[in-house]
């Protein structure tokens, strides 16, 4: 899918007689089924990636655990390690021994859905982290926001609002200032940062990849002269460590996203302690 984007860049560069860096618009690729535009929008690569992640996660984990062997095969062991990591590090360590069990599937799904979608950005031809688009990131953060808010009210009733917005041990005259601030930070800003943190990191990584690719292409193919070609090769070489940095960021962001999910849920379960 990078072909059209790059050739459009090349074309534009040729017309305007200089290097045009790729823009954010380039992350929105042409739609796969343009005729679906009649119903509002076409079916884009981004949606394909999200569905691919769903199918891949179901297929891989179902395959790995199909035998439930006492002495696991290598595949089962790897899958179990992934599950145990979410279960113990994100679930038990944060939610506590008493509450973590019902939340393990949610944390597992959040972590691996985000992880797989992020990793797509590092796989040739797929090469698009789903969460570099705001829509999927908003969707995830929104659903998680709804989960912990509803959970908070279900566990503590209307008192939950007071528990979250009125900090304890603060002088009374400060409350008019602090209560709106707490409300804003907990209910409005929290889901926004939750989604934008992921989206921004993925988008930045994606743009860096695009920039390196298009600049290298421009220098090697469009420009003449050994110096330009050499510079283009250097950019390609430089993009290799960047690729691995991106890989680290992809895993890290998936972990941070799932970790924050666990922390928000824990905050709702034990609102008294906050």
């Amino acid at each position: 899918m990078r072909g059209p984007a790059l050739s459009s860049l090349a074309l534009r560069a040729a017309e305007e007689g200089g290097f045009q860096p790729p823009t954010i618009s380039e992350t929105h690729l042409p739609e796969i089924f343009p005729w679906m535009a009649e119903w509002g929008t076409g079916f884009g690569k981004n949606m394909l990636m999200a569905l691919l992640a769903v199918l891949l996660i179901i297929a891989l984990f179902s395959f790995a655990i199909r035998k439930q062997a006492l002495v696991p095969s290598r595949t089962q062991w790897i899958a179990e390690s992934g599950y145990a990591f979410v279960r113990n590090t994100l679930g038990r360590d944060i939610l506590g021994e008493k509450h973590f069990r019902p939340w393990v599937p949610l944390l597992f799904t959040v972590f691996f859905f985000v992880l797989f979608n992020n990793i797509f950005g590092a796989i040739p031809f797929l090469q698009l982290p789903t969460f570099s688009h705001a829509g999927p990131a908003y969707a995830m953060a929104g659903m998680i926001w709804l989960t912990w808010v509803v959970l908070g009210f279900r566990m503590h009733g209307a008192k939950y609002l007071k528990l979250v917005t009125v900090p304890s041990g603060v002088p009374k005259y400060l409350l008019p200032l602090l209560v709106p601030l707490e409300f804003l930070s907990n209910f409005i800003i929290r889901p926004v940062t939750h989604s934008l943190r992921l989206m921004a990191v993925m988008l930045a990584g994606h743009i860096i990849v695009m920039l390196a690719g298009s600049a290298a292409e421009y220098l090697i193919v469009q420009q003449e002269g050994i110096a330009n070609t050499g510079l283009g090769v250097l950019i390609l070489l430089g993009s290799i460590p960047l690729y691995f940095l991106e890989l680290v960021m992809m895993v890290l962001q998936a972990f941070v996203f799932a970790l924050l999910t666990a922390i928000y849920i824990q905050g709702s379960i034990e609102a008294e302690a906050h």
């Binding site: 059209p4 984007a5 050739s7 459009s8 074309l11 534009r12 823009t23 954010i24 618009s25 380039e26 992350t27 929105h28 042409p30 509002g40 929008t41 079916f43 884009g44 981004n46 949606m47 999200a50 569905l51 992640a53 769903v54 996660i57 179901i58 984990f61 179902s62 655990i65 439930q68 062997a69 006492l70 696991p72 089962q76 899958a79 179990e80 599950y83 145990a84 279960r87 393990v104 599937p105 949610l106 597992f108 799904t109 859905f113 789903t130 688009h133 705001a134 829509g135 999927p136 908003y138 969707a139 995830m140 929104g142 659903m143 934008l196 989206m199 988008l203």
Partner: protein, 185 residues
């Protein structure tokens, strides 16, 4: 497609914060489907595999502990039995030794009694035989001597009274001689 993207570029950059509602919807639905599958099948399978393993390991440990306890009980019983049989053996040995001593003593006693009885009986018999022999001898020697003397001196000693006296005196002399000989020995 190329012209479309050129137009898009000309219109200005897409706002990265503005979501594509369809992408939002697809991601949300995909996530919910995945969540459903994970809750329904994947997570329970992992939990069950984990639980099975815990049970298998704990079961193995318990079995090993049971076997160990059983072996220790058997060993203790065996040692107890061994100690008992040792005590029994030494008791039997002591008894046997005592019994043997008793038997030996009884046998010795019996043998000694028997021996003394036999000795006494023999002595009595010897005494009786000797007495009988002495008596027999006395008469025989007397008559023999008388016969002999009468043959030598003829009928001079036909008088019984006198001959009897002579014989008695002879015998007394013989006895005395014998006694002095015995004393000398």
């Amino acid at each position: 497609m190329i012209s479309a993207s050129l137009i898009q570029a000309a219109e200005g950059d897409a706002n990265p914060l503005a979501p594509n509602p369809w992408e939002l919807l697809v991601a949300a639905l995909g996530f919910l489907v995945l969540l459903f599958v994970v809750i329904k099948w994947i997570a329970p399978k992992f939990e069950q595999a984990y639980q099975n393993r815990v049970e298998a390991i704990e079961g193995g440990i318990n079995q090993a502990e049971e076997a160990k306890a059983e072996a220790e009980a058997l060993k203790a019983e065996y040692q107890k039995q061994l100690a008992e049989s040792r005590a029994e053996a030494s008791r039997i040995r002591d008894e046997a030794r005592a019994e043997a001593g008793q038997i030996v003593a009884e046998a010795q006693e019996k043998a000694a009694a028997e021996a003394s009885r036999i000795r006494e009986q023999a002595q009595a018999q010897i005494q009786a035989e000797r007495a009988a022999a002495a008596a027999q001898l006395k008469t025989d020697v007397g008559s023999l001597a008388t016969d002999l003397a009468s043959k030598i001196i003829g009928e001079a000693l036909e008088d019984d009274a006198r001959s009897q006296r002579v014989v008695d005196r002879f015998l007394a002399d013989l006895d005395a001689e014998q006694q002095t000989q015995g004393a000398a020995q």
